[in-house]
């Protein structure tokens, strides 16, 4: 099979799995997850084949794998859609396929496959556990299987389809298709336990917030399309096309055409990658099952946002203003989210804010032109954040064991202050989580996070973006701090609750993905070690060479500078140390100095949005548009016509019809007619033959008259 | 050979030659010759009629396990002549208050309606009165005269039984004319012509095989048209003494009687012509009219025999059942059959002969099966309406 065909086929298995599960196997849990995992394996295999074939191609950037077909007729021309794998695509495909595969596998265990059905479980709510009686007659409460098990795999499949589509597509439109399908899936998956009002609200919030971005992005796509006549990346990123875009003046805030398009597309990313000010949905998205969080935050959706920006980098970089905006948003988000993360107690929420923060890193990196660094951080982050989320899921799962054991459902299994000492109960989870956490913090030399984050800082320093550099360094410090806080509160020390004491290690389907991902969380950093690290003149960074090849102008290798290195060493190690020192003594939320209300309540952004946007929109909809405009004004005008017509009609009837027409004309005529009829009545004898004679006579007379009067020439 | 091939023309030519030799104008001579031909034909028919009386009596006797006429002549062959003599010498009674003209006209019309049918019967390819292009309708038209004669007889007799018989008979005849027309149209459709010769020439396969159902309908309608049992409403001895001809005696009655027999024989002949290939019999008709006439007559006798068979084995049907049978069953069926036949004919006429024949035959069969099935269900429903739902046999046995 040619590589091109194979690329076409990559997204298909998950989509087919979706339809298979929805239409046929939804009653059978084992079959459903087999189909789902099988599809993930197929896609993974195909992705690996494509990836390794891509590795073997010299100058893949100039000669990517491409294939396209006609899709939409637009006048005389066709809009083509197609697939393409260039170095960036290949690199992204690599991590996407692995994480997706791992998440699929993980979900089997996470949703308690093989466990009995719950006693009171109902579709739409998380499983509550099942009571089983063992041989001795003792009753145990054990985790129960998810009631909508099959559905979960179907959604995951669709999600994977969206992501693969996004990665392999060679044009913005199909990319947008994948993008939006993921949006739908995130909606469905966040609202997976739709019975919970919070989940339902979170799902809508996620969808709507990202949709704000999407709408702008769509506008940007349309603009781009009408400006260039194509949406295919290869064709847009040619020299003359980019020049043409720059030359357009859209009369908007002094931006160039390229700048405006870039900005519009970037707003899409802001929504999707949860950048400030559209970040609010992502923490709430934690309402979904943990594999979903991993899926959304690590492997796919938020990465997709960054991926899109990386993709559009040649366009974005054309306009200085846009780049500034991007850099600002990224940097601000990085520090902003990091401060919030410090004050969160929910294990997943911390990770969520951490994700926002890390995405801010990437965006900031792009904003300062650090193309490769952003891509690199995207991938390493995907690995270790997926690891962390899956790890936290494992922790929660273990805690739920404990909750079921004690039967005390008031204990929140996600609150870190209810945990402690889990390293003994869940060793595999602990060690993998530790790896992930260290990677996130940028633990020097060993972890992937260090190399990628260091590269961003180095780029910022080298390009002279001092503000960005300082802010990001601060954010990195806080990252290390809250990561250590999390690890300390969760795993170290002694169990703070009974439930934590009874936590259990999770099954292999959950731990294997953790272990696999932890390998990448460490190892993947090594493919991007800069060649002049410590001026050692190592081999050229493979990642830099490979991914950098995507761009037409090969990004230059920045010279080594010890300052960013030292800074990143200091912030990472310092943060970790400080976190450990402080939190090993903190035993409850009250003792925590960082539970500042402003931070804990996320700077009151939700509340502000509620007041500034949502309430007015509801008022606008329910009262202004519907009640006042439609029912009041327009219908009011209409309702004027009905009664008015009725009134006119009434008048006419009363004074013209009844008086004049009826009484005078109508009745008068009738009286005359009646009198005439009465007089002429005797003519009617009722004898048919007399009638016939009469008619014949008349006929004869009339005929004769006609004959003679009209002339005999007839 | 000429004589064998076309004796009629030979004889006519000779006659005309003879008469023109006497000085007659040619037109008059042809007229006289034609008249002579008609006369000869009628004479032969009369003789045949006489033998039909004998045949009928013989056959009915056999059906009833008797011997029949056997005293006069060999096998009682002379018996009919004796009968005729008896009829001729009987007193000719005209009832009081009878409408004399009409009374006397009726038997003549009755006989006439039968005889003029022979104008269109082809005895041989070259031997027929007129090759009318509306011959099939002509059969019906002559039936109308028969009807007229019956009602005239019934009315002019000034007898309530006669009138009742005439009414009933006429009602039946008028009703059964419709399936008759429809079934006559089936050979017409198949042959593409109403002419008798054309219909016969088309019958490479007997139309009976192409349309057995049509032949059956024609037979039933013909029996009703003839007023023979089981449809002998006009006579119905047990109810009306003798129906419309109750007041007739002597040779006037004889004319009704002989007319009926000849009519039956004639319809047997038409049955043979329309559905069994007429004078055709494996090419024998090509040899000589002297072969084809016996072939036709043989077929007519067979038809006549079947009509007799029906008459002497079936019981009489009540008048309302009979009319209901016609209007609710036979007429719709005949129309349905006509439509089916026309459709199949239109669809399959260009196909191979065996395909055409088979599809025709099968379509008839299918239609017949549907009808029988429908009748079965209908009658079961009717029975259940009267008797209540049929009980299972076991339960019934228990009572």
């Amino acid at each position: 099979m040619t590589t091109e065909t194979l690329i076409w086929l990559i997204p298909l298995p998950p989509a087919l799995a979706f339809f298979l599960i929805v239409l046929f196997t939804n009653k059978n849990k084992a079959l459903s997850h087999s189909v789902g995992v099988g599809a993930a394996v197929l896609s993974w295999l195909a992705s690996m084949v494509v990836f390794f074939r891509a590795l073997g191609v010299e100058h893949l950037g100039e000669h990517p794998f491409v294939s396209s077909v006609n899709w939409l007729p637009t006048g005389d021309t066709w809009f083509k859609i197609g697939v393409a794998i260039d170095p960036l695509g290949a690199a992204v495909l690599f991590f996407v396929s692995i994480t997706i595969f791992m998440i699929f596998l993980y979900s089997v265990g996470y949703h308690n496959f093989g466990q009995p059905k719950g006693d009171h479980d109902r579709a739409g709510l998380p499983p509550h556990g099942a009571t089983v009686t063992d041989e001795q007659g003792h009753k145990h409460t054990v985790p129960s299987v998810e009631p909508m098990y099959s559905r979960f795999f179907a959604f995951l499949g669709l999600f994977a389809f969206g992501m693969y589509t996004l990665v392999v597509s060679d044009n913005l439109l199909t990319m947008f298709v994948g993008w939006e399908i993921m949006g739908l899936c995130s909606y469905l998956l966040i609202g997976f336990w739709y019975g919970k009002p919070s989940a339902r609200a979170a799902a809508i919030k996620a969808f709507m917030t990202t949709r704000i971005g999407d709408v702008f992005m769509l506008l940007g796509i349309a603009f781009l399309y009408s400006a260039t006549g194509t949406l295919t990346f290869r064709e847009i990123f040619t020299e003359e096309m980019l020049q043409h875009l720059v030359s357009i003046d859209p009369h908007f805030l002094g931006l160039t055409g390229a700048g405006l398009i870039g900005l519009l597309l970037f707003i899409g990313t802001v929504g999707k990658s949860a950048q400030w000010p559209l970040h609010v949905w992502l923490p709430d998205a934690m309402e979904g099952p943990t594999p979903v969080s991993a899926m959304i935050h690590a492997a796919t959706m938020v990465s997709a946002g960054v991926y899109a920006v990386i993709r559009m980098f040649p366009l974005l970089s054309l306009d200085h203003n846009t780049m500034t905006v991007v850099a600002f948003i990224g940097t601000f988000t990085a520090i902003f989210a990091a401060t919030i993360a410090v004050a969160q107690n929910d294990i997943k929420r911390v990770l969520a804010y951490s994700t926002i923060s890390q995405l801010g890193f990437m965006i900031a990196a792009l904003g300062i032109g650090a193309y490769v660094a952003a891509a690199f951080h995207l991938i390493t982050h995907a690995f270790f954040k997926a690891l962390l989320f899956l790890g936290s899921g494992s922790v929660i799962h273990g805690m739920e064991h404990g909750v079921l054991h004690t039967g005390n459902h008031s204990v929140d299994p996600q609150d870190m202050f209810n945990m402690g000492g889990l390293r003994k109960k869940m060793p595999i989870t602990f060690w993998t989580f530790l790896i992930g956490g260290f990677a996130l913090s940028g633990f020097p030399l060993l972890t992937a996070g260090f190399w990628s984050k260091d590269e961003i800082l180095a780029d910022a320093w080298a390009n002279g973006h001092l503000v960005v550099f300082v802010t990001l360094a601060l954010a990195a410090f806080m990252t290390a701090f809250y990561t250590m806080r999390q690890i300390t509160l969760t795993f170290l020390g002694e169990p703070r609750t009974k439930e934590a004491e009874h936590a259990q290690e999770t099954p292999w389907t959950m731990t294997v993905p953790l272990m696999v991902l932890s390998v990448f969380a460490i190892g993947y950093g090594w493919v991007g070690i800069p060649e002049n690290f410590l001026n050692l003149q190592l081999a050229p960074s493979w990642f830099h060479e490979f991914v950098g090849g995507t761009l037409a102008e090969h990004p230059e290798v920045i010279p080594f500078n010890p300052i960013p290195l030292i800074v990143s060493l200091v912030v990472a190690l310092g943060g970790l140390l400080l976190g450990w020192l402080y939190y090993r003594n903190v035993n409850s939320a009250k003792e925590d100095f960082f539970q500042i209300p402003l931070l804990k309540n996320k700077y009151y952004f939700d509340e502000a949005y509620q007041v500034v946007f949502i309430k007015p929109v509801i008022w606008l909809s329910e009262v202004f548009t519907y009640k006042w405009l439609d029912q009041g004004l327009i219908d009011g005008i209409l309702h004027f016509f009905g009664p008015a017509t009725g009134g006119i009609g009434g008048f006419i009837r009363q004074y013209i019809d009844l008086k004049v027409i009826n009484e005078f004309i109508g009745d008068g005529l009738a009286a005359v007619t009646q009198e005439t009829g009465r007089t002429l009545r005797p003519i009617q004898t009722g004898r048919i033959q007399q009638y016939m004679m009469l008619s014949l006579v008349i006929l004869a007379v009339v005929g004769a008259l006609l004959y003679f009067m009209l002339g005999a020439g007839l | 050979m000429d004589f064998l091939k076309d004796p009629l023309k030979l004889a006519a030519d000779w006659l005309i030659g003879l008469m023109t030799g006497w000085g007659m104008p040619e037109g008059v001579a042809a007229g006289v010759a034609a008249f002579l031909g008609i006369f000869v034909l009628i004479a032969i028919l009369m003789v045949i009629d006489i033998f039909l009386v004998w045949l009928e009596r013989k056959v009915v006797a056999r059906f009833q396990d008797r011997i029949g006429p056997n005293r006069l002549g060999p096998f009682g062959l002379i018996q009919p002549f004796a009968d005729i003599i008896k009829l001729l010498i009987k007193e000719d009674i005209t009832p009081a208050n009878a409408d004399k003209v009409v009374y006397n006209l009726a038997p003549m019309l009755s006989m006439m309606s039968v005889l003029i049918l022979w104008a269109i019967i082809p005895l041989a390819p070259s031997m027929l009165g007129v090759d009318l292009n509306v011959a099939a309708l002509y059969i019906i038209a002559t039936g109308a005269i028969g009807t007229l004669s019956i009602i005239m007889a019934g009315w002019s007799s000034n007898n309530k039984f006669a009138l009742l018989g005439a009414f009933r008979q006429v009602a039946v005849m008028v009703s059964f004319e419709i399936p008759m027309v429809a079934s006559l149209l089936i050979p017409t459709v198949l042959a593409g012509s109403m002419g008798m010769n054309a219909i016969i020439e088309k019958q490479d396969i007997w139309f009976f095989i192409l349309s057995p159902l049509g032949a059956l309908i024609f037979l039933i309608a013909a029996i009703a048209e003839l007023g023979r049992a089981p449809f002998d409403m006009g006579e119905a001895e047990s109810e009306l003494i003798s129906g419309y001809n109750v007041e007739y005696s002597g040779m006037k009655f004889g004319m009704f009687y002989a007319g009926e027999l000849l009519h039956a024989f004639t319809f047997g002949g038409f049955w043979g012509i329309l559905f069994f290939g007429g004078y055709r019999f494996f090419g024998l008709e090509q040899v000589s009219p002297f072969l084809s006439i016996p072939i036709l007559l043989f077929k007519a006798v067979i038809g006549y025999w079947i009509i007799m068979w029906v008459k002497y084995t079936m019981m009489r049907i009540r008048i309302d059942h009979m009319l209901a049978f016609n209007w609710k069953f036979l007429t719709p069926l005949s129309f349905a059959l006509l439509i089916v036949t026309a459709l199949v004919h239109a669809l399959a006429k260009d196909a191979a002969l065996w395909v055409y024949g088979l599809s025709m035959f099968l379509s008839n069969l299918v239609l017949g099966w549907i009808v029988v099935e429908f009748l079965r269900r209908y009658s079961r429903a009717e029975r259940e309406k009267v008797e209540g739902p049929a009980r299972p046999a076991m339960e019934a046995a228990g009572h």
Binding site: Q690, M693, A700, A712 | L132, L137, A144
Partner: protein
């Protein structure tokens, strides 16, 4: 005088005499029978006009059905066998006058028409008027619609006649 003319004159005379009898005979049954004779005459006229189909149909429809119906109707609408009272109404002479006038008017009007002396057209060789008539009746380009309408009319008349003549007191024989 050719043979055809003689035949025509004879037929016409018989027909007209019969027709006269139809309208004047006291006995209605006789009138109906005279009508049969008239109709026969008309049928023969058709035959003279080479309209075979019309001739045969005339016999089938008029004599076989309509005349019979008349006879039935006459018989059903009388109390005695003999007809009582005058058969013509008091104004019969006006009617006679009108009829004569009509005849005179018609003939008078026809008299001046130049087409009166037309002779019969030549029949094309091999022309079968029956099949031509059949084609005309069912051809969409010709008369299929009137033909179908006529059939609907007949059906309606059938149903209507049954309904009108049905005696509700006698009821349905099946009940």
């Amino acid at each position: 005088m050719t043979t055809a003319q003689i035949i025509f004159l004879v037929v016409a005379a018989v027909t007209l005499v019969s027709a006269f009898m139809v309208v004047t005979t006291r006995n209605l049954i006789h009138a109906a029978l005279w009508l049969v004779a008239t109709l026969f005459g008309v049928a023969v006229t058709y035959a003279l006009l080479n309209a075979n189909f019309l001739a045969v149909v005339q016999v089938v429809v008029y004599i076989g059905a309509i005349a019979i119906l008349f006879i039935f109707a006459v018989m059903l609408t009388r109390k005695e066998m003999r007809d009582q009272g005058p058969q013509l109404n008091s104004a019969w002479w006006i009617s006679a006058l009108l009829a004569v006038l009509t005849f005179g008017g018609l003939v008078g009007m026809l008299w001046g028409w130049k087409g009166m002396d037309t002779l019969a057209s030549e029949m094309p060789v091999g022309f079968d008027s029956v099949s031509a008539l059949g084609d005309a009746l069912i051809s969409p380009n010709a008369f299929v619609l009137p033909f179908e309408v006529a059939s609907v009319l007949l059906l309606a008349a059938l149903v209507g006649a049954v309904y009108v003549a049905f005696n509700p007191r006698s009821g349905d024989s099946r009940k």
